[in-house]
Symmetry: C2
């Protein structure tokens, strides 16, 4: 899917990201009745501590287009970054688990030279990029990025006419649906 | 591909759009040596005069991911809207040509009720959406949207290591390439 943010200069930025699954109720159970847990769901992504995403807007919009069903979801909400400095036990567990679950080559990228920085002319592909990362030692550059949608624009192109519904989160566990013209 | 903008509230917005081809040098030949024309190229999209894109940022970033070659292009630049009020002969021709080139069902959408507005509870699908549009009469709602990239982030995931180059437009006809770490 694609993830859009706003740069420090107020410019739009968008890149393709890999959806890494859902996480329910990441900020803990305190104050949430059990039956709301399933509704407070976040999307999981991973990023690099040195990525520009870390310094961009804390609000993001993800765009997810499903070719087969011809559906588009636009999911806007707050980003939460879970870094090596996080202290929440559940978030640490999630970050550690994700580190183990990704491929060797994905893990190795967190040992590469700083992403987006000028490629050194004397850079040695083998030396700089042929690295491996210990599956049991989470890289300090490894960040679990959580998106908590509070606004969803759902468009269905299949059928006649197209259907479009805007969903606004009104509370931690409740959403309002508003049918709009496609 | 996906097109990201910034809303009036400074929030990120991103949606899937259909690429409608290239247009060279849309702002006319005046002052441009002939040999620069091919380099001043814009991406063509269509939108609705009533769409939220019309009131959002004039800078946009398009994200284009090619599954087969595993390449991503992020193209950022100014948006130019060519509406029924445009007076430039070349732009009017482009807008008219695009109107004729799209499908009947795409044309019909410009006669639909205002996109994004509340769906009237008493709306009649047949009456409101089963419309047809004259191929010879361009809808006032039909907008040719041009994106002129001045910054391109090109990422190649295929091969080892990944390759990433940032392109900055330095003048109307010249670009600087900067290899960066992926």
């Amino acid at each position: 899917m694609q993830l859009a943010t706003v740069t420090g200069d107020g410019l739009p930025a968008v890149r393709t990201v890999v959806f890494r699954g859902w996480m329910q109720n990441p900020i803990g159970d305190a104050g949430h009745p059990d039956d709301t847990i399933a509704k407070d769901v976040h999307l999981k992504f991973i990023t690099d501590l040195r990525s520009s995403k870390m310094s961009e807007s804390k609000v993001a919009e993800a765009c997810w287009y499903f070719t087969e069903t011809r559906e588009q979801f636009r999911l806007r909400g707050e980003l939460m970054m879970v870094t090596h400095e996080s202290t929440d036990a559940r978030l640490i567990r999630q970050r550690n688990g994700l580190w183990k679950s990704i491929s060797d080559s994905a893990r190795a990228q967190f040992s590469w030279p700083t992403p987006g920085s000028e490629r050194a002319p004397e850079a040695d592909d083998e030396k700089d990029f042929r690295c491996s990362a210990d599956i049991n030692a989470v890289s300090q550059n490894f960040v679990l990025m959580l998106l908590r949608p509070n606004y969803v624009d759902h468009l269905r192109l299949k059928g006649f006419p197209q259907k479009r519904v805007l969903w606004h989160r009104s509370d931690i566990d409740s959403w309002n649906a508003q049918p709009v013209n496609p």
